[in-house]
């Protein structure tokens, strides 16, 4: 049975299910319990800055739900060490922007240990992290750095687009034997939608066709799936049939699904909230002009943010973020 839950609540539920099932799953991060010593009378926990993990320390105790110091290098590095020695840690990196403070354990350890060791280790680690603009959180708390983790061989990068997708994909990420960076777009965290009860794992890898169409393919993921839907609705009224793909997983990438859609429509827009250079959008456009060359009826358009940091002011932030209108414009430009 499905009920309506926010994405945050769906994530909470996925963590709880995984932790109940597998005693090696632990949760660690800054304020994931949120309130320090649970034993103090009358003191309640916050469950993270966004409240996503509220209640988990109550059920699983402080041995398995650990507030860490503000020390991301130590937090993520320790989680990697725990992952190669018997635990299956879920480490929360509060904002994806903080990759800057903990890249080494991801780039040089988690991503490479298995390979460097000749396949003789595995790193079943999930790093949950919040990304994206839209809350006036400014340049250091609004980035969409999933392109950075996608570019690192040895990591997987997953990004859900709805509460149900978040629950299913997070369950798969936690159970995955490779290190997964699980991105939680700020803008969908409070979004509410139907979420199945119980286990509802969604495999990492295959993309999802959100909507079938025949004239143009809109490739999207995370918060941009909603943009694609808005754009598709507008295109529909104008007589253009748009197909929407939700990638779900950026690494691995479902090349076949992308190429199949391109083959069908001959035209593609990739919608990505990150900045343009070396982005997922451009990565996919490159795939199209290589393996999908014969299908192309028009330029592949990338709808992204501009090559700038994220500004604070609301008007600027709106100008920064890709919009449904930008998607329509891109379709228009294709001719």
């Amino acid at each position: 049975m499905a009920r309506e839950l926010s994405t945050g609540a769906a994530i909470n539920e996925a963590i709880a299910i995984a932790m109940r099932q597998d005693p090696t799953v632990i949760l660690m991060g800054e304020d994931v319990a949120g309130g320090g010593d649970r034993s103090q009378e009358g003191v309640e926990e916050m469950g993270g800055v966004l409240g996503t993990t509220r209640g988990l320390v109550g059920e699983f105790g402080m041995n398995r739900v650990r507030d860490t110091p503000i020390a991301e290098m130590g937090l993520i590095g320790t989680a990697v060490g725990a992952a190669v020695t018997g635990l299956r840690p879920i480490a929360e990196l509060m904002f994806m922007d903080f990759l800057g403070t903990c890249l080494d354990p991801l780039l040089n350890q988690a991503a490479k240990l298995r390979y460097m060791f000749g396949g003789k280790a595995k790193v079943p680690l999930t790093v949950r992290t919040v990304c994206g603009a839209g809350m006036q959180a400014a340049a250091q708390h609004s980035q969409s750095l999933y392109w950075m983790t996608t570019g690192i061989p040895g990591l997987k990068t997953v990004i859900p687009s709805s509460p149900a997708e978040a629950k299913g994909l997070l369950l798969a990420s936690i159970r995955d034997d490779d290190p997964v960076v699980f991105c939680e777009p700020k803008r969908i965290l409070n979004q509410v939608g139907e979420v199945p009860e119980g286990d509802c794992e969604i495999p990492i890898g295959p993309a999802r066709v959100v909507r079938e169409g025949s004239d143009v393919s809109l490739v999207s993921f995370g918060a941009t799936v909603a943009l694609a839907q808005q754009a598709a609705a507008a295109l529909e009224s104008a007589g253009t049939s748009a197909e929407i793909i939700d990638l779900r997983s950026l690494s691995p990438l479902d090349e076949a699904a992308i190429l199949a859609s391109l083959e069908k429509t001959g035209r593609m827009v990739v919608i990505d909230e990150s900045t343009p250079r070396c982005s997922i959008a451009r990565d996919i456009a490159a795939l199209c002009v290589d393996k999908g060359f014969d299908f192309l009826d028009a330029p592949v358009k990338c709808v992204t943010a501009p090559h700038t940091p994220v500004p604070f002011s609301g008007v600027l932030e709106q100008a920064f973020m890709p919009s449904a209108q930008d998607v329509l414009d891109a379709v228009g430009e294709m001719g």
């Binding site: 320090g36 110091p69 503000i70 020390a71 800057g100 090559h307 604070f312 008007v315």
Partner: protein, 352 residues
Amino acid sequence: MTSRRKLGSMRRVEGCAATTRGFQMDFSRDDLIRIYRQMRTIRRFEEKLQELVASARIGGFMHLYAGEEAIAVGVCAHLADDDHVGSTHRGHGHCIAKGVDVKAMMAELFGRASGTNKGKGGSMHIADMDKGMLGANGIVGGGIPLVTGAALSAQVLGTGKVAVGFFGDGATNQGQFHESLTMAANWKLPVLYVCENNGFGEFTPTDFVVPVKHIAERAASYGMRAVIADGMDFFDVFEKAGEAIEVARAGGGPTLLECKTYRFHGHFVGDPTPYRNKEEAEEWIQNRDPLDIFERKALETGLLEAGDLRRVDLEIDELMRTAVEEAEQGPLPDPQDVLTDVYVRYEPWHES
């Protein structure tokens, strides 16, 4: 060693011995009023922000400095405009104490083109290079290497400037803290590291995540001078910061100054603080308010009367009113400006 101090008279102290012995402080009536004005301005600014966020007139992440005023004001009183300060996510107090224009700050928080940062920064990035303010910083610990670099500039160029880095207790767990203090100690850089120990990092009590009783103990890892001050008492902070800054300017190297304090509000505006002990909070807020402590001690000098300070209060209320009014009426940025100020020069530039 004792010496007579006036605010603003402390730059370029030559030949001062690197000593930690106290010096007598002697303030004029004007000094005291100036100090009070700064502290009260910070307090009112934060109170105003709380209102504005609650009524959704401004947005973004907002961390208030109320309760910690004595630290910013006590330290910055020793600094000139060309001494550099680095700050944190909780930066409004440091900005005001360093002389950044309050109206321009307010305009920034309203996201206006008339703001300190042209609306591009917001609360966590308010900066003013002309005032030596290297910016609030959204990265915990991120400001520490920046001021270390400012101190390096001062040393390499021999300018006699000093740099000050403010940061929280939680930030001392960051690698950036450790690496910066190591470098500063090796090179005897002219820098003062001010830890504002308010007992929490977000919702987590300091003693849950910092394995020593006093942050000052961490200086042992760098063979660095360390001093603890009562962060609620302007005079204590002023004295200890003054000595450390003298040492720094005289080539005696960096100091870690721990100021014990408390934040009067939640971690961010909207935080209901379920995690903190109510009695403890009451005790700090009722009995250890840095403004009350300052007022009491200032009145004890006999140089001024309560009425003098109440006049300042009114003046500041008026300042806040007009600051909000002007900010709200200030020009919004042109959406096209999202593209400017990324680089000094970037060619060929192609906007995609």
